[in-house]
């Protein structure tokens, strides 16, 4: 599973960084999503799904 993030859609709410700080951060310049590690470990997948669901602008996807 791979995390895909679209900075164009991102509105910088910080929900992903709050939910899984090991995998997500925000750009210092415009606050948009920065994926620290695109391939999460299996035990992290549930948290990543939470982050995807909480993203207010639909900027995150978890794909096969």
């Amino acid at each position: 599973m791979v995390i895909e993030a679209d900075p164009e859609l991102c509105v910088g709410s910080g929900m992903c960084a709050l939910t899984v700080p090991d995998l997500f951060d925000q750009s210092q310049d415009d606050g948009t999503v920065v994926v620290l590690r695109p391939v999460p470990a299996d035990p992290e997948l549930d948290d990543v799904r939470d982050a995807v669901r909480r993203c207010p602008s639909g900027a995150l996807k978890l794909t096969d």
């Binding site: 509105v11 910088g12 709410s13 910080g14 960084a17 709050l18 939910t19 951060d25 925000q26 750009s27 210092q28 310049d29 415009d30 606050g31 948009t32 939470d50 669901r53 909480r54 207010p56 602008s57 639909g58």
Partner: protein
């Protein structure tokens, strides 16, 4: 639609059966018709949304507009609780805009409100909270938490973020206190607003002469906003950031003092604070007028047709009490994982300052509980005056003793 009775007429009902629960009618509506017809006080026909799932759907659907000119007053009132967005406020109120206009403003600011930056502000926020505790102690054994803690703390945090210089903070705090206690006629409301705008202009001019390392300097020197827009954006940050945090601090404390079991749990284990903050945000949902979205074309949803122009009011307090999403929703339970609530809304307009709010509430509640081990209400809980008439729900005053 003619066969449907319209249960909410002349705007939202204000009377609550219990001060911390939304009016019971919204729960009944959710069971029967989660998207129900309503009429606004100006006579316009629209919809009230009470289910969590439909709220999320509408808030992320780009066929729904946030344009201020399409919104309506939510409460019938002679009071100046809601200002006319287009007539009374300077330009730059981007919560009432759609893309691409909204995007231009939001992208200018998102870098200033990242989780990382807000966490870096915690030492400053702690210093501010400690200052308020000292001021409360100086008064003796009792104080009004609203006037002596929440309002000045929240004002000082936003001053720190914006970069309002020390010599202007006293005036700023006084004006913000007046703005927050307004249940007066439109003229006084307008006068306070004008005074705040003038103070912001003065502070912004000061940043041209003497730039600092703060948000306002960034906006002034960035050159991306017209001067009037710059003042408008600053005003939006101020109003959105100050009135909300101040009321959450007071109302959250009130809720905890009313629920001794929950309070004891939090006192026994400070690590519950993150959960407690999310749960208080959900349970109290102080944006009790909800948020509005207007379909720009006919939209079919949940068996109804929302016609173009018929505004949907997402009733956030009852959306956050949807049992489908939060089991036993009317119970305050600081151990539940309430994150994912819609208190900060959802979609592209979700609260820009939410990570600041989280840090501020966390520091505020932790400081109060740590510094005042015997904090209690100084009057009967049912005597506390609630802000039923105000845009943001909360308490007008909160006499506490320790």
């Amino acid at each position: 639609m003619n066969d449907m009775v319209c249960p909410i007429t002349n705007g939202l009902p204000k009377v609550r059966e219990r001060p911390l629960d939304p009016p019971a009618i919204f729960g009944q509506l959710r069971d029967d018709r989660p998207i129900a017809p309503m009429t606004f006080p100006d006579g316009a026909r629209g919809w009230v949304v009470t289910s969590f799932a439909h709220a999320r759907t509408i808030l992320t659907d780009s066929r729904f507009s946030s344009q201020g000119s399409l919104k309506h007053l939510a409460f019938a009132s002679e009071l100046a609780t809601e200002l006319d967005i287009e007539k009374d406020l300077p330009p730059g109120q981007f919560e009432h805009m759609d893309p691409p206009e909204h995007t231009r403003f939001r992208k200018l600011l998102t870098g200033e409100f990242t989780l990382r930056r807000m966490k870096a502000m915690v030492p400053q926020i702690e210093r501010i909270a400690a200052g308020r505790v000292a001021a409360m102690r100086a008064k003796g054994q009792s104080a009004d938490l609203v006037r002596d803690f929440s309002v000045p703390m929240s004002a000082q945090v936003i001053c720190e973020l914006l970069g309002v210089p020390e010599d202007a903070r006293g005036r700023f705090e006084e004006l913000s206190f007046r703005a927050l206690s307004l249940d007066v006629k439109a003229e006084e409301s307008k006068a306070v607003l004008d005074a705040i705008v003038n103070l912001l202009i003065e502070v912004a001019m000061g940043k041209v002469a003497e730039p600092g390392d703060d948000l306002l300097t960034g906006l002034v020197t960035g050159g991306q906003l017209e001067p009037a827009e710059l003042i408008g954006v600053t005003l939006l940050l101020l109003v959105a950031g100050h009135e909300t945090s101040a009321n959450m601090l007071s109302l959250g404390t009130y809720a905890l003092l009313r629920e001794p079991e929950q309070l004891a749990k939090l006192r026994a284990d400070e690590s519950l604070i993150d959960n407690a903050v999310e749960e208080l945000l959900r349970y109290l949902t102080i944006v009790h007028i909800g948020v509005q979205r207007t379909p720009t074309e006919d939209v079919e949803l949940a068996g109804v047709t929302l016609r173009a122009g018929e505004t949907a009011l997402i009733h956030l307090p009852s959306v956050n009490r949807d049992p489908e999403r939060f089991p036993d929703p009317d119970r305050l339970d600081i151990t539940r994982g309430a994150i994912g609530h819609l208190t900060f809304s959802h979609g592209i307009h979700q609260c820009l300052g939410q990570q600041l709010a989280r840090q501020e509430l966390k520091v505020g509640f932790t400081t109060l509980l740590r510094e005042f081990p015997d904090l209690r209400l100084a009057v009967d809980p049912d005597e506390i005056p609630m802000r039923e008439n105000m845009t943001i729900y909360g308490v007008h005053e909160l006499p506490v003793a320790w």
